[in-house]
Amino acid sequence: MLVSIEWLKKYVDFDITPEELADKLTHVGLEVESVIHLGAGISGVLTGKVTAIGRNPKSDHLWVCQMDYGSGEIVQIQTGAQNVKLGDMVPVATVGATLPNGMKLNPVKMAGLDSYGMLCSAQELGIDSKLLLPEQREGILILPPDTPVGKDIREVLGLTDTVLDIDLTANKQDCFCMTGVAREAAAVLGKKMQLPDMAVKENDGRDIAGMMKNGIEAPDLCSRFANRIITDIKIMPSPEWMQNELRAVSIRPINNVVDVTNYVMMELGQPMHAYDYDTLKDHTLIVRRAKAGEKLTTLDGKERDLTPDMIVIADTEKAVGLGGVMGGLQTEVTDKTQTVILEAATFNGPSIRHTSKALGLRSEASMRFERGVDTGHTWYALDRAVHLLEEMGACKSVKGICESCPVPFVPTVLSISPAAMNTRIGVEIPVAEMVSILRSLEFEVEEEADGSLKVTVPSWRSDVTCDADISEEIARLHSYDKIESHNPMLAMKEGREDPMETVKDGVQDYLASAGLDEVQNYTFIHPSFMDKMMLPSDDVRRKVIRLMNPISDEFSTMRTTMLPGMLATAAYNLARQAESVKIFETGRVYLPKSLPLTEHPEERQMIGAVMTGRRYDLNWTNGKDDVDFFDMKGVVEGLLESVHLTGYGLVPCTEPYMHPGKSCAVRVDGKVIGCFGCLHPTAAANFNVGEETYVLEMELAPLVKAAGTVPQYTHLAKFPGMSRDIAVVVPDTVSMKELEGVIRANAGGLLRQVRVFDVYTGRQVGKGSKSVAFNLTFRADDRTLTDAEIDAIMKTVVNNVQETYKAQLRK
């Protein structure tokens, strides 16, 4: 909220700088985000009168003006604006003047003629054109004709003021107005806040009782509704001081009646509305729920469809306003209006919030009702508005206030234990100080015999409902800076985390140590990613949770697989010339049990990885080979080993997005927990990554159980082992697992290890065959083996391999 310092000073007297005040307010919870000095950068700009004006003969747009700005001589200034007329009063940037944009005025020659200064537009003076009357927005700012000549423009336009921009928290509804901020300032500064003058003349001669009726049919939505009537209205611009103050807080002046309702709202926090008396059927205002199907054209000219949870103000025939949100067009105050009904009411905050959200209509009024207005001061607002209009000589006023108040305001009274306050805050604040703090904020406080405090909460503090709220009032005015740090005295205990998280950390560490970089993708993805993954229409991963209000399609569905986001990330990096992308991500996928959601979905923890491009960083010792299936397989094997998961099997993978010949699924306890391998070339093309892109996706949970395994020591071998190499040429359809099986089956119990150290296909072995070289290690626990016994075993192995596969032995 914007607070004008000049305006604030009407209610509380202080002479500290705006910056000092800002600091003090911030320290009690009114966070001042910025201090704006209006007119900063303006100097040497004076009001001037156009005493003569004519075209520059050498130009098709320049006007030559003879200006009087009180210097005692007439000064020639040219302008390119087309809205200046003889006798106009305008801002003149004199030679040597500076403007907010840093411009400094020098004499110049334009189209052959001298120009000693510049006539200014509002924009050049740093004024937001939205805050000006429509006729003031284009060209040079034309000032009222009665503006004196030679005055500093900052004084004329209220640009000597300073404005605080306060980031108001949702509980500070009382500070959504000048007097509310003044009250806080007064409490901080040890001063007293003065409410403005509200005396009304009531000089129309009539009584309101004979002129109108009002009523509330929905007391749950409106607890108080009050009106005053003013007559003989003269609609005109409001005085300069009011326009300047409204502009300072970013409200556009319109005319005296509208300006006064806005001014009082800004001053007292009570939104107001004005109706043209003569447009209201039976001069009656009823607060009721909208009828189903009812329509209303609001002040902005839009027809609104109303629903029964909305509050309308109606006459005996039709809705005339959306209570607390926006008035109706038909009953608007116009130039022809003679008599006005002013309204001040207390509408139900949640209802207003609901209505303004439903209609997409937020106004200064609705924002205040949402948070809650001061229902104790409804009459003040009516009186103050009438007072201001009377002061301008703009109306007469009718006697009395017409009010409906089915739910009278009852102040909250709390019984507070000072000791409990101190326990909560952690500081010893004397009772006397607590009392004085609360009274400075206009809480009524009585000290009871039992030591407790009876605190009556003022009507504008509806946020204060319990003793915790009181403790905050005490703490913030006492100052948070005076709270000394203290370490809680708690029983010793170890901090624990979910084993899943510990395993996740381990998985992350392993994958990083294996050369993969960790990424974190948004968990919402574009729905088209499921097509790119070539998932069939009945795939369970297409049952995605959709957001009702996504930022865009790109972020609209919760991922059911890690891979699309990771592949998009891979493509992003490849497009930025990454030689290789080796990435992993741990995170959740979101699997609904039913759609639409009626219960929490499963949030399954997953591991994903993508590898593509160079196997190694370019380095003189490394080859330039790209990653292949066995790089990803090695990562997976190492990962499972790192969590002690050994009993897993690899089975064919049926994922549509995988290359069927270069991928496999990982099975643990009969259940597939994930798969890895080469991306299907079509999927790779869909995601703009290379064909040789290897991916992994696996559930994290199955890794957790094995990860708890504590390795048990086995004795180191006492006797040396013996190793033998064997190379055989077999049909290339024979899998390594199969071949190893034959070897193991024939090598007997002394065989300890079988390692493949070479696989060759090519000319030397002929088409359809491959040569495989194994290294076999034999060892006995009780003796040193002899060559003879190993030679015998090897002979059996070789014979059987040869026989099984018609294999040849390679030397």
């Binding site: 320290h27 326990t423 952690g426 003793d467 708690l490 209000n549 639409p596 959601l597 003189w620």
Partner: protein, 343 residues
């Protein structure tokens, strides 16, 4: 020539040869030549029979001396030759130490992971449990149980992504407060943090629709704002260094009362004032407060017996300060040139 003279002459000649030997092979050959079975020494000793018996011990002594001298010389010479050979070998062996090493590949953890782990580590050491909560939650846990009834204006503090009228992407980790209390026996102590992803419908240079928070909750007896300040001071010192100072400023959260924003002295300029702290010397890093009695009540705790504090901090914010990152969007663009800067 007497036998002794022959031996001495032999010695002289052998010593000359041995000193001239150029490598260990030559030396080995000389050893065979002089001391071997077919060598001159053997030859000379064959003439021992002609020596008078009385002179034999003397001659024997000379023989031994010569033999020992030669053997010693061979050993010495061998040592020298070995050293020379080593020197020559080393002199020829040279790598270009400026060539890059064969570095084992090592990936990088995301800076948010590093930061979250650091935060967890500090709080686990203080006895906090780490509790995870669901990211897709319902209105009750995300709002109502936190003292935010429907149509409460403070719901505007966060733009929510809705899935249905009831289910949503959590806007804060605070929902885990209520979940944790409801999972505990009423009025039993709690000390926990809960890190995780949260979501708000806001996307620009300084807002990401997904970001991360760490919630903290301590519920016990007589837990005050001063205790909160003490705990957070410990945390901030551990996170940002011993010189860091903290201050509390009044603020508002529906689920805490009193509430505060917590600032730390600027870690960039040390509090003198710089662009990062907007010349205030302070950086806002988290929101906190005493748990609102309504929140305790709704989760089955009796606020007249138990109270506590809660806090919530943004992991991105802390990572940005710690690593000097100036653009929030970098965290989720996953440009590897960014991620590879962290370990």
């Amino acid at each position: 020539m007497g036998m002794k003279d022959m031996l001495l002459e032999l010695r002289e000649k052998a010593l000359q040869d041995l000193q001239a030997a150029k490598d260990s092979q030559e030396l080995q050959d000389l050893k065979v030549k002089y001391l071997g079975r077919k060598g001159p020494m053997t030859e000379i000793l064959r003439g021992m029979g002609k020596v008078p018996a009385a002179d034999r011990p003397k001659i024997g002594e000379v023989v031994n001396q010569v033999k020992q001298t030669l053997e010693q010389t061979i050993r010495d010479r061998a040592e020298i030759l070995k050293e020379e050979a080593l020197k020559a070998k080393i002199a020829n062996e040279k790598v270009d130490i400026t060539l890059p090493g064969r570095k084992p590949a090592c990936g990088h953890l995301h800076p948010l992971t590093l930061t979250a782990r650091e935060i967890k580590r500090i709080f686990i050491h203080m006895g906090f449990d780490v509790i995870e909560g669901p990211e897709i939650d319902n209105d009750y846990f995300n709002f109502e149980a936190l003292n935010l009834p429907k149509d409460h204006p403070a719901r505007d503090m966060q733009d929510t992504f809705y899935i249905t009228d009831n289910y949503l992407l959590r806007t804060q980790t605070s929902g885990v407060q209520a979940r944790t209390m409801q999972a505990h026996e009423p009025n039993t102590p709690i000390r926990m943090i809960s890190p995780g992803a949260v979501y708000r419908n806001d996307y620009d240079a300084t807002h990401s629709p997904m970001f991360h928070q760490v919630e903290g909750l301590v519920v016990d007896r007589d837990i005050s704002l001063a205790d909160l300040k003490g705990t957070l001071e410990l945390f901030c010192r551990e996170m940002f260094g011993d010189d860091v100072k903290i201050r509390l400023r009044p603020s508002y959260f529906p689920f805490t009362e009193p509430s505060c924003e917590v600032d730390i002295s600027c870690v960039i300029c040390g509090g003198k004032g710089c662009n990062v702290c907007k010349h205030s010397g302070w950086l806002e890093i988290l929101g906190a407060g005493e748990v609102h009695p309504n929140v305790l009540k709704m989760s089955g705790y009796d606020p007249s017996i138990m109270n506590g504090y809660a806090f919530g901090m943004g992991i991105e914010r802390i990572a940005m300060l710690k690593y000097g990152i100036d653009d929030l969007r970098l965290f989720f663009e996953n440009d590897l040139r960014f991620i590879r800067q962290f370990r």
